[in-house]
Symmetry: D2
Subunit: 312 residues, 4 copies
């Protein structure tokens, strides 16, 4: 994931630091604290800080003076109840902070989730590194014919090589021209003393959307679950889904009871309409139901049959 | 502040728990962690958890891989710069969680700050304790004649005693009737077996607005500063200002550099209009300026003179 | 609902005003614009302003230059698709503003929805009217034995009369003492010249929680639907549900296509967990499934059977 | 600003539509409703819808039954008072919706304001037009030497032409390759039947950051003022400032009283720290004050002298 040796050393130094605290601690998450999890070709996600644990959800739900918890089993029962009945505020009492490195076009999807705190590396103030995303061959997918925002089969042969070549060449050339416009090295000295150098805030516009950026991103657990339910979903674009998948791993370490409840009630769950529910009641009662009689349109019928693992 | 011995024991037990963490720690805040600070006659504020420190602000501003900090002096310079120029996002990277016990009429003002997470003790689900706020004699203020939402002189003599008596009697009677309607003890058993007992969610409507409630309240540092700038302000109602004052003490322990910058730039600072600025430029240049010539209306003029410690 | 003749005249005057606009208009909603819909004994909800219509959702989803709409049928198809697949942002493009009069204990539940704009009548600045909520006899419910935040059978006979008497007497006495403490009439003149009068911001604490307050409340359509899905739900407290029901009527006038999609997919819909979905698949396949084998706990099983209209 | 004739016709058609409404109307804003205001080389801002006017702010502040307004002079007094004393909630009662076309690197700054509703044209679902931003010669600024995120002198001669050439060539080539990868025309037909065509969601990553995108953007007046105070500020990047400037024009038409109050108290106003205020008090009293004695650091001193139009 392209850490410089200086960055690696900074991370290692911070991982060495230990202190005693009275706060709730989660050893399984502490294990990976600060450690980058590689995502895509140059990206990563790493947990920088966290507040609370499964117990903090229980504490908040009970507005308790002490730990608020009794037995693990009780906590699991309560957390599952809260998840099932959409009592969201206790989950807001936990908070997590990530450092993420990601392509700009992924960052643009990600930032649409507004209930988070963000500090992004500023290309107005600083110079971006030469790092851009190139899809792995098995992700070089054709446009889906049935779904306007989906992927079809993987490109192969000449078409695949040509696409990869274009992506690489264009990113390389744009970055080289970015540097040429800037006319400065990382210490801010002119490369060519005869030229002034374009303002950083302007030169950046020449970069391609697969250029990597990075940010600190902080969010409460309830909103993180909402983010993950959308972005770890099979309909999400692969390039953001792999970040969500990496974050699911950190979620499992951080709040294992909540993780299980989330996987059961949200990720693996399904939202049925009143119409779909009627169809199911009929089926359970052994009545034959057809799309035509169901009141569902063809698309809804197809989606329902898929949910039930039945042929449409 | 009316902790039961059971609550006191729960707090003490939690304060005894220690664990090792790789996260940023603030010993001065750990000292008072979980410990209630008394506010008003039965209320309190206590810090339950926190995330980040002054260094985390610097880290976020630099989107750094390690601590992001160099020397204390640099950090202070950067934090002051951020505060002065309204760069608010790095302050959002710290988070704090309080447990607060407060009268309902104060809770109603407080909750207007929407950028926080809240879990309140539910009077729909549970029974509220018999605790209500009665102002101390020196806070029993008359209505201000000049300011519709301000206080005048302190009430004295018979009027004062009569007011206190009414407040006490009404709260007592309303609470006693609340219990009578509920007809159940804390274990949920009927007091008078011949009656059904009114639903908790209904009976609570009989309580007066000075009844105490409590909640867990979690907020990021930027929004906390905004809350404090409004609620620790002399124009805020005394009964919420004392909570803000107690929280300022926790702020000073938690992020001392930010605290200083906040006191200088926000609490002690002043927002001048373009018109007021013109007046000041004239004054600094030694020109005599009058309200009439200034373009300011009487009220604005009076406010400006007050800011400059001059007679209007 | 206790409008004064002056208030009635103000509303009538505003209803008479007409102007020509290029904006999207909804005649069915204009019909009831400004008109209060009575709720509870003294409360109301009235629509004060609105922005957008069903077409605006379609327009936003398409980021179109013109109306963005083709045929009513297409619009309905798109809106149903958006609702089904949780594409929420187009619904945020419509906005509605209500004026609501409601008991304080209801206001305290309502305000927990943070994604709205609120201006409440200030009891710090002004004097509250003598209006308090007393439940109708058929709403005077006992505490549920099975559900800690639910209602059981209706109270009857002496117990009912006694509860009503206590509610009335306590509200009356508290209000009378509030006035006594204030010692001023509505023009701000002292009633008893020998007394100073307690500050309004203090005197209000003597009122009971069933006292009516009022506010302007503005929200976007997506967040309104979320509010209604929680508050028009059978598990919501009756006293807030009746407001939600009144607002559903205004929703139906305002955005009829969205209303239908909402009733089908959200109000009438159901969220199934992965575990519950497995049970249903088994049932549809004709396999006998028992709670014990299902992996669901008793409560989940009972809830699932209720959803399917089957005996547990 | 590159409207197609079809888009122009759609806008004209919508401008022709009139209806009668009981809602507050603002004729000066209706005049320009739907009409694009050109910004940069291909961008625009246009008002699509609005809710409320200056009177609605007054109405909300008074929680009134009717218009809530008395005389224009009273309204102006109240609005100025609210602005001066940071009473922000009444301004949240007005709402405006814009359709904006803007370069992606500007969109990335803009979206950082989270308190707005957004629907962006989806490059995952659709194909972006070939439109990219090239700065006008007088905006081709060098990097500032003193301010890391500022601009210096304008580039001239060969350097200027070379920069413009690179920007144009790279954008052209990247767009041409984008089309080549897509291998489909606007009707979705293959250009070259022998190739599959890369998924839209992938191909877009090859575009440069000066490519234009567009969105619907809706915000309440309070948050709009906050956005404008940051983005119409001289320190904002020119390419976003021109959008803010265009929006200030629409603000002036929409809520002229609020506009004046905003220009006086916010845009033309200044925030002084406690330390700076002490310096000014000394100066007004005729005492000579130097940076060294002031307690301000050099940068703060320089900023204060600039505010006072004095030499540092």
């Amino acid at each position: 994931m392209g850490l410089t040796s200086e960055q690696r050393a900074e991370i290692d130094a911070q991982r060495m630091d230990r202190a005693e605290t009275r706060r709730a601690c989660v050893p399984a998450l502490e294990e990976v604290l600060y450690e980058p999890i590689a995502v895509l070709d140059h990206g990563f996600v790493r947990v920088i800080d966290y507040m609370g644990d499964d117990g903090a959800i229980v504490q908040a739900a009970r507005v308790s003076y002490g730990k608020g918890t009794r037995r693990v089993q009780d906590d699991a029962g309560l957390i599952n109840y809260l998840m099932r009945h959409r009592h969201t505020t206790p989950f807001e009492m936990c908070e997590i902070k990530y450092h993420v490195k990601l392509p700009i076009f992924v960052a643009r999807q990600w930032i649409r989730h507004r209930t988070a705190n963000v500090n992004e590396y500023s290309a107005r103030y600083s110079i971006l590194d030469k790092e851009y995303y190139i899809p792995a061959p098995d992700q070089l997918a054709a446009q889906s014919r049935s779904n306007r925002q989906g992927r079809g089969a993987v490109l192969e042969g000449d078409e695949a090589s040509h696409v990869l070549e274009m992506l690489r060449d264009d990113a390389e050339r744009c970055y080289a021209d970015y540097e040429r416009m800037l006319n400065e090295d990382r210490e801010g000295n002119s490369v060519d003393a005869g030229r002034a150098g374009l303002a950083r805030e302007l030169a950046r516009m020449n970069l391609t959307l697969n250029t990597y950026t990075q940010w600190y991103w902080k969010i409460d657990l309830h909103n993180l679950l909402h983010f993950l339910s959308l972005r770890a979903d099979p309909h999400a674009q692969y390039e953001i889904r792999v970040y969500a998948d990496a974050m699911l791993e950190t979620l499992k370490r951080w709040v294992p009871i909540t993780f299980d409840a989330f996987m059961n009630h949200r990720m693996g769950g399904v939202l049925l309409s009143a119409g779909a529910l009627e169809v199911i009641k009929g089926m359970v009662a052994g009545e034959p139901v057809t799309q035509h009689e169901s009141g569902l349109n063809k698309r809804e019928w197809r989606e329902l049959m898929a949910v039930l693992d039945r042929e449409g």
